[in-house]
């Protein structure tokens, strides 16, 4: 992860094209197995689907509600990740605070924690009897669990590190040299940040946002523990799939395929930018 700013990418690129050193044959087998592990289950899903009935399964009221709710909450959560996670990444990359390393470890927690644990943690903070939730209930009559806001909070919780890590990495690799030059030319820190730093890390921010959005769409554990499950309010697509798979397997498969399509779309949106610079 720690590419030093001094390392020139131009040196590596011709190598990739001209060395002519092939991939050792032995690697093809595990590589193929790894690919099969990802691709074949999706194929299995597609084969299980009842294709002629697929359209009607996808336009059931519950499915449409869940799709709408999933897209809405994932979009709001991604915006929240950018608005709050962006500055957090800047602080982590550029701040000169004691204990910054500890702070970073805490920020990474949702990546490593099972989401359901995150959901429980949210419940005991913001639930009606939770540390903060009790105060909100008494003072304003506001309760968060079982609301769409709870879904957004759960998604933002699990997706924040994706944005922060991507952006922080971009900030570190970009280095401070251009900002320093801007400063010598008379730019204030705010102007240098806006005109130099932000454009420089925009691709990192974009890929982080796409990752965060994808993570929000797939969120299940934290949502079910913190927000509950109700059609139109808190039942996102993954929750509906989980519920349907018990009784209406075909509908669950149809909705799973819908999620696959959305996932492919997300990758398609993200991919052109990664190939444009010839790196992935």
């Amino acid at each position: 992860m720690s590419t030093t700013p001094g390392e020139a990418p131009a040196r590596r690129r011709p190598d990739d094209h001209e060395t002519g050193v092939g991939v050792p044959r032995l690697l093809w087998v595990p590589a193929g197995l790894a690919f099969a592990l990802i691709a074949l289950p999706v194929l299995g899903l597609a084969l299980k689907a009842d294709w002629p009935r697929l359209p009607e399964q996808l336009v059931s009221a519950a499915a449409l509600d869940a799709l709408r709710l999933s897209l809405l909450t994932a979009s709001i959560s991604t915006v929240l990740c950018i608005v709050f996670g962006g500055p957090l990444a800047v602080v982590l990359a550029r701040g000169r605070l004691r204990g910054l390393r500890l702070l970073r470890s805490v920020v990474l927690l949702p990546l490593v924690l099972p989401p359901v644990v995150g959901g429980l943690a949210l419940l005991y903070l913001l639930g009606r009897t939770g540390l903060v939730g009790r105060g909100l209930d008494v003072a304003f009559g506001v309760t968060i669990p079982f609301t769409t806001a709870a879904v957004v909070l759960a998604q933002t919780f699990v997706a924040l590190p994706f944005l922060v890590v991507s952006l922080e990495g971009a900030l570190r690799t970009a280095g401070r040299r251009y900002e320093a030059v801007a400063a010598t030319l008379g730019a204030s820190p705010a102007l240098a940040f806006r005109r130099v730093t932000v454009p420089l890390v925009l691709p990192g921010l974009a890929s982080g946002a796409v990752l965060a959005f994808a993570r929000c769409l797939g969120e299940f554990g934290a949502t079910v523990a913190f927000a509950g499950s109700l059609q139109g309010t808190t039942q996102t697509l993954p929750l509906l799939v989980y519920q349907l798979r018990e009784t209406d397997v075909e509908a669950a498969v149809a909705l799973s395929l819908l999620l696959v399509v959305v996932a492919v779309a997300v990758i398609a949106v993200a991919a052109p930018r990664t190939t444009a610079d010839g790196r992935l």
Binding site: S2, G169, A170, T173, L230, R245, E246, T247, D277, L280
Partner: protein, 260 residues
């Protein structure tokens, strides 16, 4: 942008890490094997958690070397797992409908036997702070009510009572099994939940049960069956006998279950 590869690699690595973090590591939970060590896998409805826990302990005492490994969950979920090849020896379900999923797939060894019945009750916080006295009270708009999803037996029973009484509950959440409903009430996040009378009994002083006469319209029966080609078929049959026998029945009735 030269930042791309390391960042993407780091993110991908972290995704992998997160995925691994969620993997359960409990495959080696059983005791180290002496030759006569046998493991009996029992799939049971979530509402049976406490009573089967007790029956299981008794069964292990009576059958040295036997380790009963229970898996509790929503009955329809468990039925689906069995249909998909889960290695269960015994299935104890909270409704005929979910048991039918298993029998229809030809996976039950013999006819299922009903070993208990259960009725719905309204679970409220201790002391019933919202003053709920009837099923119709659950339709009050200022109450946060949690029920089971209609796909699970407790949800199907709740639906039945709603239809029979014409009371239209607007729940704040539809949970995947009855223990999740109870949890929302015990943690104080919901004002009331529709659970089984046995769940309230097992929750102790944390919740209070409000019975309602309409519950009799939706009594659920609990069938139990040995799974076809069970790895421990003989042991499974003796476990079923333990449940339907005198001792098991005593445990179940103490927990609040009705006799079949």
């Amino acid at each position: 942008m030269r930042t791309r590869l390391p960042v993407a690699a780091a993110a991908a690595g972290l995704v992998l890490l997160a995925g691994c973090g969620g993997t359960p590591s409990g495959t080696d939970a059983r005791a180290p094997g002496t030759p006569e060590q046998r493991t009996l896998t029992v799939f049971a409805a979530a509402s049976l958690t406490e009573s089967f826990g007790e029956i299981e302990k008794q069964f292990e005492t009576d059958n040295p070397g036997v380790d009963v490994v229970p898996s509790y969950g929503g009955s329809s979920d468990l039925a689906q797992q069995i249909v998909n090849g889960a290695p269960a020896d015994v299935f104890a379900s909270a409704s005929d409908a979910t048991m039918t999923t298993v029998t229809d797939a030809g996976l039950a060894d013999g006819a299922p036997a009903v070993f208990a019945t259960n009725v719905l009750v309204i679970a409220t916080a201790a002391g019933n702070p919202k003053g709920i006295t009837s099923f119709a009270d659950l339709a009050k708009p200022d109450l946060k009510v949690v029920v089971c999803a209609p796909q699970v037996p407790c949800g199907a029973a709740a639906r039945k009572v709603e239809t029979a009484t014409g009371v239209d509950i607007k729940p704040v959440s539809e949970e995947t099994d009855v223990k999740n409903v109870l949890g929302k009430v015990t943690t104080g996040n919901a004002d009331a939940g529709l659970v089984y009378v046995t769940d309230v009994a097992s929750a102790g002083s944390a919740v209070e049960g409000v019975t309602f006469p309409e519950a009799a319209k939706a009594t659920t029966a609990y069938p139990i069956a040995v799974i076809r080609n069970a790895p421990q078929a003989e042991l499974a049959r003796s476990f079923v006998s333990a449940v339907t026998g005198e001792q098991g029945q005593k445990v179940l009735q103490a927990a609040g279950f009705g006799t079949p």
